[in-house]
Subunit: 160 residues, 2 copies
Amino acid sequence: MTVLPDLPDDADLLLLDRQICFSLNAASRAFGGVYRVLLKDLGLTYPQYLVMLVLWEHGELPVKRIGEHLRLDSGTLSPLLKRLEAAGLVHRKRSPEDERSVTVSLTGEGSAMRERAGQVPRRLLVATGLPVEQLATLRVLLDQVTEALDNAVPGLAAEG
Amino acid sequence: MTVLPDLPDDADLLLLDRQICFSLNAASRAFGGVYRVLLKDLGLTYPQYLVMLVLWEHGELPVKRIGEHLRLDSGTLSPLLKRLEAAGLVHRKRSPEDERSVTVSLTGEGSAMRERAGQVPRRLLVATGLPVEQLATLRVLLDQVTEALDNAVPGLAAEG
DNA sequence: CCCTATTAAGTTGTGCGCAATTGAATGGTG
DNA sequence: CACCATTCAATTGCGCACAACTTAATAGGG
């Protein structure tokens, strides 16, 4: 029980904080590492895979909608979509009715990849080592935290 | 109840997978957004803050040890530590007994920042909107997943 | 003792994430 | 119609993550 006079009880929170942010950071990168291996055959990165998932589900979307699904802006999506287009997986064209918007659609190759990616989720779930119920719990907690954090940001920014 | 004949039961897993990786990705970035706001006054990025936490706890470490604590390699740490040094927060010097190793230590300014950072964890915990017990649960789940994922990677890589 | 393998940092190249800005198109208001 | 604010995509710049490689120093085996 050493006493650190210049560090009051905030010190405990610093340690707790360290644990939480370490854990989240580590988990995020661990997922990334597994996805990297699983997606290697497909030639996709993890963010590219997320975009493909959105397109497989919705078929055809403007860049804006993809960004809303994934919380990504054009600064991230524009070059990513260019690479997907260069890989022959998606097609981009200006929307005729609104020339500001760019519609992203799957090519035949992009659609066909959906079947090849079919094994990815199962292998990922196995790799987590957790039963589906606990993963569901994890997901609920993560979503709660995300919503709370997003709501908190404006207030924090206002405080300075 | 639409039936998609060309997509067998893997399709459900694709959706579940989408939810889990979306949630984790979103949570990770939501945390990053809050940290970015909280650390703005300190002039630190989130990864830089993590390094400072390690140094505040351990006082003085070679780059290798910092990397072990944070799961980061020299490719990430070398430029990051250069920026911390340029900011006057850390000092780097070659170890006399092993000239391959670089010892990273805090400057007076770097140590002093610890007090200024004292408010960060409390504000973050509040921002999450979750009671401490649920955050602890979240952390345990994340750590379990991380360990399982790390153990799974070699096997996955072997399969190809 | 020499030669080789290993280890630690650093460097390079690619891709992601985000803030800030630009440019073109659109919509609304006087 | 003219003007202005808004919207969408793209671009720029910076920092992080990671793989692959380089360089320098150390440790170990013949």
